[in-house]
């Protein structure tokens, strides 16, 4: 069998063995004790040639119903948005995607500058002065924010609204357990954080308060009121998880006194791809700059005074500080941050509000059509591009029927909120046409009876 990624010829091998002074490559493995050695051949599928393999994987891909074949109203943290063609052209440049972390600034200015620009864009969107180079995703970024609040305030209790994405809350639970941080859930009233309960739970033992804006149900949490409650506690940190697209229209959390703003830039140029890789962002205040997890790029000059960029404040990081580091994160999502940067550049200052507004308009149209079709829409607060509809039978059943009509229906809220049996979370992005929305509403109305 020939292997096209292995360039050594038999002649090369002979010359090299001779040069090393051994008879066979086996001698180079002689330090592996015989009693632990693997005997025989690994039981893996036989290797396949490039043509056959592409055929095989294409067949596998075709077994999946994809969002380009179906009309999708599924969101719940992962969205089907328009991706400009430039994005893939840029991230396909192998000087970017085959590079390692830019530890050698002289030959990594491209990546470093791209990250610096990403940090700036995130800072602009969130209204926070500092943003890092990326995190794995919105969920783990939020969990890191929770642990940072505990470390910073030296308090061990964090309040988390139940309107935060259920999987992010689950991730927070796991991370917090590692650090001995207690999570207290704040309940909901009409799909918004229960401010009365929040007020009651808030005291000087609380490290941080976590809300999502817009929240998991698409509704816009009143950050101003929440901040008023939080700031009664001097040390408690205000942590906001935010869909950055929504911030094209909504006042950014930075203007409401947030200490940490996190989220996922999947909405900018990153396809759903079954949930990953996406791209977490992490933005914060100047005060917390030296506590940020992950990599930061800073501007500086070279010996000749030419502007350039370097990885900076590395004393926070694991490769320097080891067990005293602010986080264990090493690999991040650099290439996806690049994809999002290109998408944000393409959408631009003018387009961002337009795109956010389009989402809001189309979602409102869908919601009003549902009401006309006598579907029961619950929660009446202002929302971004998602809302909740109450159905007469299980969302699972209804989605099965919708699927047969070429529609991927919304998210079944009963999965995480037993009290919301039969409630579907509907997402409408800018790429859903009037026709698709009309068809969806009609089919949903018919199935619901």
């Amino acid at each position: 069998m020939e292997f096209r990624y292995l360039p050594m010829t038999e002649t090369d091998k002979k010359e090299m063995l001779h040069s090393i002074g051994v008879k066979s490559t086996d001698e180079l493995f002689s330090d592996i004790p015989d009693n632990v050695r693997f005997k025989g051949e690994l039981d893996l599928k036989n290797p396949v040639n490039e043509y056959e393999l592409k055929k095989e994987l294409t067949a596998m891909a075709n077994k999946n119903a994809n969002l380009k074949q179906y009309s999708s109203f599924l969101g719940a943290g992962v969205y089907d948005h328009f991706i400009p063609s430039v994005v893939d052209h840029v991230i396909s440049r192998s000087e970017f995607y085959t590079a390692y972390t830019p530890y050698q600034p002289e030959i990594s200015q491209g990546e470093l500058q791209a990250i610096f620009e990403f940090q700036t864009m995130i800072s602009e969107l969130t209204g926070m002065p500092v943003a890092n180079s990326s995190m794995y995703d919105g969920g783990t970024s939020l969990a890191e924010a929770v642990n940072l609040s505990a470390a910073q305030t030296k308090k061990k209790k964090v309040l988390v609204s139940k309107s935060v994405h259920p999987e992010s809350r689950a991730v927070i639970e796991t991370y917090a357990r590692g650090q001995g941080v207690e999570i207290v859930e704040i309940g909901l009233i009409d799909g918004l954080t229960d401010l009365k309960q929040l007020d009651e739970e808030l005291d000087d033992t609380i490290a941080g308060v976590v809300v999502q804006y817009p929240n998991f149900f698409g509704q816009i949490e009143p950050l101003q009121k929440i901040e008023e409650l939080i700031k009664q506690q001097k040390k408690t940190m205000f942590i906001v998880s935010s869909n950055p697209l929504a911030l094209g229209y909504l006042t950014p959390p930075g203007e409401f006194g947030a200490d940490i703003v996190v989220g996922d830039t999947q909405v900018f140029g990153i396809p759903a791809q079954f949930g990953g890789p996406h791209c977490g962002y992490f933005a914060t205040t100047e005060k917390l700059m030296r506590k940020v997890p992950g990599r930061l790029v800073g501007q500086t000059k070279d010996e000749d005074g030419v502007r350039g960029f370097v990885l900076t404040l590395q004393a926070r990081e694991q490769h320097i500080r080891r067990d005293k580091a602010t986080s264990n994160i090493c690999s991040n999502q650099a290439l996806n941050a690049l994809a999002s940067s290109v998408a944000m550049s393409s959408i631009g200052k003018q387009g961002i509000k337009k795109m956010a507004t389009l989402n809001m308009q189309k979602a409102r149209y869908a919601k009003s059509r549902m009401k006309e079709a006598n579907l029961e829409v619950v929660f009446e607060s202002p929302f971004f591009n998602e809302f909740v509809v109450k159905l007469s039978s299980s969302v699972d059943d209804i989605n099965n029927k919708l699927f047969n009509k070429g529609i991927i229906g919304g998210y079944d809220l009963e999965r995480d909120y037993p009290e919301l049996k039969g409630h579907m979370l509907v997402a409408v992005t800018e790429i859903r046409s009037k026709e698709e929305i009309d068809t969806f509403v009609k089919e949903l109305g018919d199935i619901n009876g």
Binding site: K13, I20, I32, L44, H165, L313, M360
Partner: protein
């Protein structure tokens, strides 16, 4: 290119210029501003770039020209396994049936994706000799932490709350002690002996009733195989601790020896190293975790299983450590790794390790003539030289690294592991030809000669890059972390 500032995308902006193309508003318009309280309506638009589409392409093409990847040239960055990133992987990962699927679709409608994940799990189980594998972790450090959380849950399930310490060798990756700390453990160090291997006597000294686990990379970061691994396993297991395998260096041993057979209870793999996921300028990666039968109940949720010929997500796992990441891991990277494994098969993967080791030994024997080799035995996939001889002549390892840039090479990892003075950690990988290795060897020997005869040229390197050495001290003292309009 001349040495000059390269404009930021913001500096290319011109008010009113656009490159977006969005769908039309084809529905009845609502008065959004009337709906929201005024305070929630953004007044100052975020200052994103205002550029044309061509501006974007010129900008990022320019940036890519100011970057260096494996496709640009030799990248012997020790511990990072900078091997070739196959192009079929990229093509496959862009098939619509993989890119445009939603994690919350009904599993019945994404059986192809789940089949791939299940097959990848099965392959990784075989390659590592572990009982079960989870693909949830996003990167190596994430995998380390995940497995440590499982080990913690295992001990606690036995009512054992006293195991608060995780032992890491002094040569370990920084992520090891950091992950231990994030999982709530105290990291304790075990020393290396004169041969560069874990000192068994010191291990016996630090191990005890409070040992949760020993984290080990094998071959270790010096590129040496820890041949006393079974004795180490016995010592750690004897004290009731677990053995953790950092899979960063798996590229050296595929088909030769498996972590599961060496007595490891948990492993993580770096699919972006051994299994050709591209490094992407820092990520995304993927760090699957493999575990023994004993640890299996603690795997993070969900676990992909097969039931009556269909693939399902199992979330009914009462002892699970819970979720460690939303959805199902970095699917796109896992897909690339799967494509690679299908390309290579068992025979190919064993050859990968064979040539990774051959290449490293070949270079090591050529370079030890000029550079100090602190650990002279055969290495595995990488080796560590010391720049101590050159340092005596006033040239630091950093200078040697910078000088390599002038010859269009990416330098090796430097000053790591910490137990080698002026360390140069070289990992050629198996995808490089003999001609490439010879070219790099010649250059390293030339530099050694320069150190003797013309040290300034090395000390002042690089001479040919678009920027020279950066003022990193000022960058850290007065951080500028974003662009601000003048």
């Amino acid at each position: 290119m001349a040495n000059q500032d390269f404009p930021l995308i913001f500096e290319r902006s011109k008010e009113g210029r656009t490159s977006y193309s969005l769908p039309e508003l084809d529905v009845t318009e609502f008065d959004l501003d009337a709906e929201l309280e005024d305070v929630y309506i953004r007044k100052n638009a975020p200052d994103l770039p205002e550029v044309s589409e061509l501006d974007i392409m010129r900008h990022y093409t320019g940036l890519s020209n100011r970057n260096y990847g494996v496709d640009s040239g030799f990248y012997p960055l020790g511990s990072c396994t900078m091997k070739y990133n196959p192009k079929i992987n990229e093509d496959v990962a862009r098939l619509e049936g993989f890119t445009h699927i939603h994690p919350y679709q009904d599993p019945k409608t994404v059986q192809g994706a789940m089949e791939m994940l299940y097959d990848l799990q099965t392959s990784l189980k075989e390659i590592t000799g572990m009982y079960e594998v989870s693909l949830q972790s996003a990167a190596g450090a994430h995998g380390e932490w995940t497995a440590l959380m499982m080990i913690r849950a295992f001990h606690e399930s036995n009512g054992d709350y006293e195991r608060t310490k995780v032992i890491v060798p002094d040569s370990a990756h920084g992520t090891n002690p950091a992950s231990a700390a994030v999982a709530g453990f105290e990291a304790v160090t075990v020393k290396s002996n004169e041969a560069g291997l874990v000192d068994l006597e010191d291990l016996k000294r630090v191990v005890g009733r409070d040992t949760a686990a020993l984290m080990l990379t094998n071959p270790n970061t010096l590129g040496l195989f820890e041949k006393e691994i079974l004795q180490m396993a016995e010592i750690v297991h004897g004290a009731g601790g677990k053995l953790y395998y950092d899979g960063a260096n798996l590229n050296a041993i595929m088909g030769y020896v498996r972590p599961g057979d060496m007595g490891f209870d948990a492993v993580h793999l770096n699919l972006h190293k051994t299994f050709t996921g591209p490094h992407g300028g820092g990520g995304p990666g993927s760090g699957p975790v493999g575990v023994s039968k004993e640890l299996e109940p603690f795997l993070p949720k969900p676990v992909i299983t097969k039931k009556d010929d269909a693939y399902v997500f199992d979330i009914d796992r009462p002892q699970s450590i819970g979720r460690i990441k939303p959805y199902y891991g970095n699917f796109g990277i896992n897909l690339r790794a799967y494509t690679y494994i299908r390309t290579m098969g068992a025979e190919g993967l064993k050859k990968v390790s064979e040539f990774a080791v051959l290449n490293a030994n070949y270079m090591m024997r050529k370079l030890e003539k000029e550079y100090e080799l602190p650990y002279p035995q055969h290495c595995k996939h990488e080796f560590v030289l010391s720049g101590s001889r050159q340092k005596k002549l006033g040239v630091r390892t950093l200078d040697i690294a910078k000088r390599l840039l002038d010859f269009n090479y990416h330098p090796p990892t430097i000053y790591f592991p910490l137990n080698v003075e002026e360390g140069l950690m070289i990992e050629p990988t198996e995808t490089e030809s003999k001609e490439t290795l010879d070219g790099f060897i010649d250059t390293m020997l030339t530099i050694a000669e320069e150190v003797r005869n013309n040290p300034e040229i090395v000390q002042e390197a690089p001479h040919t890059t678009i920027v020279k050495r950066m003022d990193e001290a000022t960058a850290a003292r007065k951080p500028i972390l974003r662009y601000n309009k003048q």
